[in-house]
């Protein structure tokens, strides 16, 4: 068992990150958090989380950037909004989770081969290309990027789904894709602006 230093110095803190986190949409209320922990208690996925949502909020507003962005918590959040419903301070925990996910992807610090960020990224890429998601390609892409063996073991199920017409190889597409891309690009630019 390796002994590592757990104590944090001021240098481990990034005050800019704290400022960024509390300026995100939904993050304005972060400062109001009274650390009651009802978010963690109500979260159906907190049992798998390395940091509970309550702790993550505390770390984010104190500026412990590395801990926050590399945590599994943000990727495990299933956006069920249970925490948002329970929060006595009306903190938009789910929105904050999305902001943190985007930042983690931007900085490339999410856990490699972890399916959720890969899925999110591929999902976004497909929407950008076609305006629609092709499940077959998305699933294949996801497995190839994360877990080869899983891909092999799921082949049977995949073929059955295709045979019954539940999944198709043919990418579906929308009209006026250019306009959608314009919108998405504009949103992205806007977001980068806010991040600054």
């Amino acid at each position: 068992m390796a002994i590592t230093q757990m104590m944090k110095y001021e240098a481990d803190r990034d005050a800019d990150f704290a400022r960024w986190a509390t300026s995100q949409t939904g993050g304005e209320n972060l400062r109001h958090c009274i650390q009651c922990g009802v978010c963690s208690a109500t979260c159906p996925l907190s049992l798998y989380m390395d940091y509970t949502p309550r702790r993550l909020i505390n770390l984010a507003r104190e500026g412990f950037k590395n801990e926050v962005l590399s945590s599994l918590t943000i990727w495990l959040c299933a956006s069920c909004y249970a925490c948002r419903v329970e929060c006595p301070k009306k903190i938009q925990v789910t929105d904050i989770m999305y902001a943190l996910k985007r930042r983690a992807i931007q900085e490339g610090v999410y856990p490699k081969r972890f399916p959720i960020p890969v899925l999110a990224k591929e999902f976004g890429r497909m929407i950008f290309m076609w305006g629609r998601v092709n499940e077959t390609l998305l699933v294949i892409d996801l497995f190839l990027r994360t877990n080869w063996f899983k891909f092999l073991s799921m082949t049977g199920l995949g073929l059955n789904l295709m045979r019954t017409g539940r999944m198709s190889f043919l990418p579906d597409s929308i009209r006026r894709k250019d306009e959608l891309r314009k919108i998405l690009n504009a949103l992205e630019a806007d977001k980068t602006e806010v991040a600054k």
Binding site: H32, Y51, L59, E62
Partner: protein, 669 residues
Amino acid sequence: MADNNANKQQPNGLPRIGFYICHCGSNIAGTIDVADVAKYAAGLPGVVVSRDYKYMCSDPGQEMIAQDIREHKLERLVVAACSPNLHEETFRKAAAKGGLNSFFFQMVNIREHASWVHEDKKAATAKAKDLARAAVYRVRFHKALEKQQVPVDPNVLVVGGGIAGIHAALTLANAGKKVTLVERESTIGGHMAAFDKTFPTLDCAACILTPKMSAVKSHPNITLWTYSEVSKVEGYVGNYKVTVKRKPRYVIEDLCVGCMECIDACVFKEPKFADKFNQGLGKRKPVYIDFPQATPKVVMIDPETCIQFKTGKCKKSCAEACDRKAIDFDQKEEVKELQVGAIILATGFKTFDAKKEPHYGYGKYPGVFTALEIERLVNASGPTSGEVVLRDGKHPKAVGIIHCVGSRDEKTNKWCSRVCCMYSLKLAHLIKEHSGAEVYNFYIDIRAAGKAYEEFYDKLLSEGVHFIRGRVAEVTDWAMTPEEEGKLVLRVEDTLAGFVRRVPVDMVVLATGLEPQADAQEVRRRFNIGCGNEGFFQERHPKLAPVNTFTDGIFIAGACQSPKDIPDTVAQAGAAAAEALVLIDAGHVELEPNTSHVVEEECCGCKSCVPLCPYTAITFDEAKKKAVINEVICKGCGVCAAACPSGSIRQNLFEDEEIFSEIEGVLGK
């Protein structure tokens, strides 16, 4: 229920006794077979009526007793119910209503003493019978007694001129009572006068306090004695004789108008002595006034630093500068006497000595301050005119506020001081506002229980003040990383983040807790009241008599009773004033007749009782060589009666035959 014939004669010559036992719902009847006890009591010698009833204290219950007294010509009354503390007075009144002297009555406590403390129904019933029998045996010997009435002096003494004393004095004075307000320091105002803003509204402490201070000074019903202390208290409720020492301030109060020209004229050109009002952060001259709004606005001379007092060879330029000739180097202590009916103690608190927590470095690192020092620093009329600066004049970029200093700690003070969380939040806000520094609060719990207090906490959270939950272990100047160089580092477990942190700051503020005044024990002895374990004055009942003490006519208000904030202090001061008014406006007090008296012809004059009396109610008549008991002062403790070697001291309601027959009753069958 057993009811003997009303016209039955008492051949044994015993007085006719009525016995009543209460069910108290199921409180008593659930454990004690009340009907069985009633039946048993009916057979006791002298008992002519014996009844049980669901609620004896109710109106029908009392009416039943009064009616029985009339119908059955009862001469004595015994009620077996709850504690006499609760309903003795109720049944005394019921007896009087029936035409019986109230003291021909004995109460038996079968609730607190039997049903509530036993589970075995049979044994509890047997015990109730024993207790009932004892009372029946005793009550035969009861004598008719009358409550004595003593007039009450309408004047009131208020001790302590902080916000509690000020508010109590003004309330009483506005009600038309003459009040004397005695304050130890040279000005009234207390701690509140030193504060900058008040939580949670952030209104300026001086702005709301000084109008009340000047109202005290100008009120026709208030006599204000500052720089004075109560040295002796004699007498009893409604009639206290108080001795007050007025310390010399070497300035004639009636002549001084507070122009402060003497201060300008002082041979010390620059202020050079630590200014106590500013927590030593500012400087003053030997002739000084605490602050511009000091009340009374009278200067004083500190003989410890004044050259005239130290050497006798000063130009006395201050005295020359005073055209009203108010400076008097020969002023002596004055002793005054007062007659008052009630006393309100509002002697306040002191803060915990931060040096007792050496790991926080107070007195060692110049960057460590107490909260009271910061109050003066952020105050616009303070030594820095409101600028938050370190002792070296630099501006702090990061400030750490440590909560619970000396509080919630078995090693120092066990209690929560109630105000530190809120004043720390207030100081955090003010420091951030005045200096723009990053502010960290290190807390164990945030206790923001009060009107608009939680909302104030929320406001602080939104202002971006850091809240780190954990008790700081140490303040050190030992740097472990480059950014800690030249800083004070606080080591703390951030229990919410889940790891230990080192937080470097420039300024540390210690939120010291509240303690009883250093001389609280002496004061409580002087006023003959009690103190709790922690040393705060003891109220008569923690919920139902919070401003009364165990000594009638002496009331307490404010932080001398327990740590409290300004709203609670003012509320309590108002309550104490109201209690004093109740006493005064009644015009007289009724005294319990359970007092002792000396049977003169039997007293041998040995004086053994005299020093034993805890209330100093016994004096010795040298002419007659007999002890004399002042029944007005006597509280009926019985010490003298027990100690008298000749048995010449008798105590009403506790005469020998009463006690012996009670013992016989409780032991007999």
